[in-house]
């Protein structure tokens, strides 16, 4: 037993990586517990009853309490640190980008990465295959919006690295995995990726 938070995760998931990256930037220890989502290990009766009734990872366990939703787990780890802006508006603006991530970015860019790279295009259902063009277009629009914003300022919210950058970095830097996005089309996003990777404490997804 340890007093460290336990991350219930699948390491290749960008949503899980966000939490590890937050912990790395803050130099906080976390214990990692791996589940193979491709084998249904987060849909077992035990997982649903004790870790997350929603059957999804990541979940951050703090003592006997369980916190699903990657961005909420990042917030729990980082509240009161330099990864959360001090200014009230900037703090809400950080959350604005994190909600954008879950609504406009993840369902397109992360889902296409999973479909093309994990499930495999030939194994998709007809309905999934029919959604690819719309998800590609919506994912491009999300990257273009980030690019327009990052052409004007170094960080998504406030004047320094925040959870907004961590949350959006996770699936942006591997967006090309699906074969459906080209990051050189969004040069301000590419420069922002390099800025994040140069920050003290940065840890790669594979670490």
């Amino acid at each position: 037993m340890t007093d460290w938070p336990i991350l219930h995760e699948y390491a290749a998931s960008g949503n899980c990586y966000k939490i590890r990256l937050t912990a790395a930037f803050l130099d906080l220890p976390i214990e990692r517990r791996e589940y193979d989502i491709m084998k249904g290990e987060t849909r077992t009766a035990d997982f649903l009853a004790h870790v997350n009734a929603n059957g999804r990872i990541p979940v951050l366990q703090v003592g006997e309490r369980f916190l699903p939703e990657s961005n909420a787990a990042c917030f729990w780890l980082a509240e009161g640190t330099h990864l959360v802006p001090h200014d009230r508006f900037d703090r809400a603006d950080m959350l604005r980008w994190m909600f954008f991530e879950q609504y406009n970015h993840e369902p397109n860019i992360a889902t296409l990465r999973f479909w093309m790279g994990w499930v495999g295009e030939r194994n998709l259902t007809d309905l999934q295959r029919a959604q690819i063009p719309a998800k590609q277009e919506a994912g491009r629009a999300a990257l273009a919006l980030m690019d327009e914003h990052l052409a004007k300022q170094d960080w998504l919210a406030g004047h320094a690295l925040s959870l907004a950058d961590v949350a959006l970095y996770a699936y942006t830097h591997v967006a090309e995995d699906s074969g459906l996005f080209v990051l050189s089309e969004t040069p301000a996003v590419e420069r922002w990726i390099a800025r994040i990777e140069a920050e003290p404490g940065f840890a790669a997804m594979s670490a």
Copy 2:
């Protein structure tokens, strides 16, 4: 000119209503500015340049700054009030339900309400029509997860009404508008709806 925050909105949108309901519970004045999304009034060059490059409402304007994303706007209004739990874990858990709302609830329950009640089933694209069964199933799963949770506790996060309840109330209480959800199947959700409507300061969506 006023010093009150300005809500750029479409009144029938649950995402906009969340912000009005937060302000009502906190007895905060806001100025309302209406756009007809059915006439494309949030896609004009002026709106995209000055209010939200993402072309979406709601946006909360605070002085000369603009805050998109409904749940971020609620957070800006409510931080430090009784609508945000004092306990650190409960506060992150509140955000957990707000991210769940944007990822698991809104894209299914709100989207079907919009498609069936505003666009009209006959005007949907083939791809939209093909997505109805999956969105209905995912929306039911979201309501079932809330029901299981609310059978054990009165409020979604912590021990009192919070932004988590406000955010999820907005589209839950009108879920039946699409004709695809039946709230009596989730009795704990029904009791929770009644609890919210009995709280001091509550304001109806049509108010």
